[in-house]
Symmetry: D3
Subunit: 320 residues, 6 copies
């Protein structure tokens, strides 16, 4: 198990010994002036990133692990041009079972199993047989669920942590149910289905087994298009799925970001689409707000400038 965190390294002096587990972000073989190779690593945990260099036994060490692996590093702290780095003496790959994922990547505060059960309950509550069948097919697709239950909702911005996508989707389901009495003409089953599926394409838009990034498909095609494809794939299996219902689900997905400028190829044109966009927006903005509150430990009544929202946020909210 991990003993120290990179955020504490400012207190480690040159020459002190380091022996701990890290996640490999970058692994690159470079060459010294004398022509001999050395290994340049960037390793991280949830608190930051640090450089490490292997000068000896480079060949052998190189073969022991790959990028995105967990490794046990034994080495000595040193400095290069004013920056700390680890002079690595030995390195071993460490199995996933040996580490607590939460020490290395940001993770939802909710248990993955709890969120999955909550999803099951939502699906069970639907009355429309086609929508229920559609969501059930997703739920029973274990390959999909293995991804969906841990996917983040974004690379940074909002709900950018493992489990964030499901947490975010279920929050929207809850919000829609909360306000449903004011909008009696809505098709609640359709709206809930849209809440669950609106970002489903993110399981393929993002890479997130360990560190978060976009996939090629994510950048080139995007989660909206991918999401529609994933939904189409399931709908094809369901006998007599009404064409118009399928079209309305697709509309929810393609319009959920609200405007062209935000990457939605269509603006919301149904009541369900208007509400889904509004609740998606609320859930995202509140999450950004909360994250800014937690991240900001500085003095003063305002956070530092918050880029996603484009403004400073007020921290001192408590009213006497």
């Amino acid at each position: 198990m991990k003993k120290t965190f990179i955020s504490d390294f400012s207190n480690v002096k040159d020459g002190d010994r380091i022996e701990d587990i890290f996640l490999v972000k970058v692994k690159q073989q470079l060459f010294r002036k004398d022509g001999n190779p050395y290994l340049m690593l960037k390793v991280c945990d949830k608190t930051g990133t640090v450089d490490g260099k292997v000068w000896d036994n480079v060949e052998e060490m190189t073969g022991r692990f790959s990028g995105d692996d967990f490794i046990m590093i034994k080495g000595v702290m040193s400095s290069y041009q004013g920056t700390k780095e680890i002079n690595i003496k030995a390195v071993e790959r460490v199995g996933d079972g040996m580490v607590d994922l939460k020490d290395f990547v940001p993770v939802s505060d909710y248990d993955f199993d709890v969120l999955e059960k909550q999803l099951y309950t939502v699906i069970a509550s639907l009355k429309n047989p086609f929508l229920k069948k559609l969501l059930t097919l997703f739920y029973e697709d274990r390959e999909f669920m293995e991804l969906f239950r841990i996917a983040p909702a974004a690379k940074d911005i909002h709900h950018a942590f493992l489990g964030g996508l499901l947490e975010h989707s279920l929050e929207i389901v809850d919000l829609c149910r909360d306000i449903k009495n004011h909008y009696k003409e809505i098709d609640l089953d359709l709206l809930i289905t849209g809440a669950i599926l609106h970002d489903v394409g993110k399981v393929r838009e993002l890479k997130y087994r360990r560190s978060l990034d976009y996939t090629d498909e994510g950048r080139l095609v995007g989660h909206i298009m991918i999401g529609v494809e994933m939904v189409d794939e399931k709908i094809r299996i369901i006998a007599d799925f009404p064409a118009r219902l399928a079209m309305l689900i697709r509309h929810l997905i393609v319009s959920h970001q609200g405007t062209y400028e935000w990457g939605s190829p269509k603006a919301p044109q149904t009541l369900e689409a208007l509400i889904l966009h509004n609740m998606d927006d609320l859930s995202a903005k509140v999450n950004i707000f909360r994250k800014a509150m937690q991240a900001d430990s500085g003095e003063g009544d305002f956070t530092s400038f918050n880029k996603p929202l484009g403004r400073y946020l007020y921290k001192n909210r408590q009213t006497e």
Copy 2:
């Protein structure tokens, strides 16, 4: 009581007699080629507007009523350059008690008294003594309440009918309460106070005793600024009202339209302000959507182009 509506005049032939009550929108004295005066009127009911002209006894008739009055017109239908107009023979002012306001201007589906009672209940539920006192001062200000209970929320766009402002504000209160469990760190009393007061300046921004329009102050200063002034006026009366609480209420008012582009001089910087803007936006957009649904009796699956939302809206929502 009113017998016929202007929307039916396409079925009235030239020469048919007209005898009914109308609301005077425009009253102007013009002159004929021979130098004699005549009276040009534009009169309306909730279904439309029609021209009327008084050719005889102009002096006497002119003295009998003013703009924005209800009048009983006796005359004959005629045409001028292809457009129907009433050749008015006699006209009498009619007291407010003789007419049903709903025949002339759009009005909330809710009873004004019911909405006012609902407001009272909301105020009574508050725990923060300063906020409760603040809202109570508004509630007990009968001059204000006479305006607030019938004010529309806008000239056109959304909730543009008598009682629309209170209906809209209470809807936001309800929405905020509905979703409060997801956002436990919010100060619910503050948020509810913001929901009630965010558009309070509209009682002075708009003219709406009968027809809806902007006041001079509404155009030159705007409801956001007016609303802050009205709130300040009450706060000054309350002993020891906390300065920071006052500031947070003002922030809710100045930021509720969300962005500079929409006329808010500040973007939401507190959690309550983010939520208030989102719920205000939802209430307004759904109201626009519903109004478009009701107004559109045409064939086809889409409404005509909806200007406020900038898109066509889908009417055929029912899923099999």
Copy 3:
């Protein structure tokens, strides 16, 4: 066959007899003041639209045809509130074979069969077996080709005529081939495939058997998303279709409008996508320009204000 066109009706006097074929755009049953029904029609040909009314034998006449049918009208020219309309005495449905489609809707200057053969030649020229197979599957899908060979490229704007989509797509193929020598690193087969398929979703986005309009699916989902679905459907049939190749085709479709503002959920990120967007843009703009030149018969050196391009266009181009 059609004898006269609506554009000539300004020369027809009230009371003159009308006997000709028209296309039904709107058909609506309304009621007279005496409670009896009458039939209100809007009928068109390629030169304009005119109102028509059936006052007698309404029941029987109503049953004889539907909207979007061709009908032979016998009637008398009359006027209502200064506008010409046909007082219809008799009406009969006319089979498609009896009319020349070009008298009623705008049609490509090229023969549909010629364009289809040109498409075949393009497909035959491809070397990449997967891309060739993909396009061949579209080509051999007769149901699809019946639509694709007559589809317009837009409702108005550019290539808004039957056959316009194929004409436009083949023009882009030609343009890409013309310039290929400058961009030797491009995958020409991929680019050509993108040129053929980039707007393929328009066969479902638009209605165009006779008059042009959007389908429900067109408004709610859009041709980009529909196009990707149609391509996916074919790719699924092809064994071992490379995943990356499929992704690159999807990227060409989702990015071909160039920017978010123009409704593309992704900007071009490959060289082929950059070129496809540029050539699509060129083909569309030149078509808008030519259409404006043809439509403008006025005096002066400039066309009237051209809305799609947002400017006046210079007509007097010939240099001495």
Copy 4:
């Protein structure tokens, strides 16, 4: 009195003694690896900022001063990771009377008293008794004047120095008087009043007793709203102040930034408001231009990229 400035520290060698007065910007207690506390300071003068650390007698030293105090530091220059910092041996708070404010913060080139007298002359020149009374009330409010006479016009951008607000406001008064002959229909007294009061809310929007920053109220409510409140407060005291005149003053304040995008909730709708916005804009832009000229000592004919104006500025203006 101050002897050296931070801008000269590049010439101070490690180990040299430092003994001088600085302004405390940041004061923070941190902990060493051995658990003992140390004091981290950021201190500044008008030429820059430097770090300082207190390693000994931390408790005692901490109690001797607060943030935003002037302090006499005795210490030794040292380096940490390539950056100069002061190893502080002793520190004492220094009274305001002992320092020349101009050594620490940017200050207007004009004497505060001169500007105040100029303001008095402007007020004395007004003919409209209500406007004269209004401005006199501000002038006689000593608490207000203590702030107004030293307030900056902005945190950075333009007139960002002590006295800048009054200097800027009086410049606009002068500009308005200069051009008044061209616009004879203007109400000059009203325009001058607007020039004086348009930014008056900045005395509460900004903190500026020493370093410049926004107040909480400044960020959450903004100087436009605050300014209206301040004006309202005075108007309430004046008997029979005409309602329309009050409205026109408020309009000048809310519209002076010209457009929604610049944070004005209303665009100028009166001639005075149009002119005030234009002159405010001119004064601000010229000040930005001059500041860029002074700040830029580099070679070449252009300044470095000027962010507030979004362009490079030409320095080599002199025409032969």
Copy 5:
């Protein structure tokens, strides 16, 4: 001389005789159903436009005048589809000397000769010999001055009347002189030269001998580019004109509209350019404001929506 104006025609009955002078805007030969030609005219005076038709002696009448001529019309008032038109019996061309131009096109309130003399005085006041020579060359170019002294400053928008360009340019000169004391570092001669020449290209951008419109060159090249060319033409004649001074004049012309969005290919980068843009903007906006005040005779405190400024304008400015 003209006796009646088109604005009074609402009081003229069908069958009344018309005998008066008009300006020909459109002259077009059309054909009746029987194949015989008739002449369709649109004629105007400063108050409006009216249709006229010549049914008899068409050949002969056609030869008597051209578009943009003044003509004496003898005819009878009639109506066509609810709109008044003149049934023309006889028509004669009228020489320019017989009419008062002001009856037909909008004209500056200032006498053209007075404005020209004022220009002379400005030029005489310059000290910089090169700038004085440059402006003198323009002034002594009689062909140019014949155009410059009557040119409008725009087709509509602001100063859209004969003489408007010179009136507008001299107003800017005056404004610049008024405020010069605040900006002592400015090169006043350069600024004044820019004020005179900034819009000089409009003499070729617009057609304005009688009715106002764009020239081909105006639309395709624009007054900024034309202005620079005109200035270059004069500068070439002046021996040893300093290159940098020429560049600074060109900069004033190309940047005077302030931003790319307003059609300036460069933003102001010198102090003179900043001030010129600001004063140009002020002069234009005030003129738009005044024009709106004059044009609006309606009731209510606001003008109708003002398109150039994008807002309603307040009319009731007088403060008690």
Copy 6:
């Protein structure tokens, strides 16, 4: 000849000797604490920039060379605050003939002479005698051609290397010829002339004898305006050059950037202008794309964020 490049200096140790040729970017005399002067240089080659300092014989060394000269430096590698710099012992100016320009600035892959010959062939092919004469005048203007044949097309962005302007212009000529068959109504000679001349103003907008930067005229007036002036200068020499043809060439130049936002004071209004803008855009974007491909040696399938295009670009284009 140059032996080593700055990109290799990371392998040079402090104390190693340096003896090589560099290009002087910055040369500045500063003063040491003891009052003695030293010389601070920034010198570059095509791979980067490095600081150099002359501590001895400063007077003499200073006189030996100027900014933008090539110099032979003899010195010793040292470090200052973690950054490498050359301690210069001796320096000599080196003549242009002694260096290969390509070692110091980016240069077209094409030979300048080859490009010039290609230009000659294009001119020779024109049929319109006026356009042929116009281009010939440019071609025969040796002073101009010395600049035109080596000018870059931009400071950074696209074709930012010596020879880039001619390479870019000829590429557009070729593209226009390639696609000419689709647009038979175009005046190809006019379009080709526009392709050659559209950016001709860049020979004066940019400085590029060695390092690339804007000239004063480039920033203040811009290449569009300069280009029109240069073309006008030649046209004046040609007898009877048709006015309309001159106007159409000017239109091509002023509109070639397509929109106001991109700095064009006019949008394309002729077919030739539409096509020229489109081809210019294509050539520029493809060049940006290729440059990004070459510059990016990192891992992963995407380039780093590409600023000119505002997106990531996909590198892994090869389809299996």
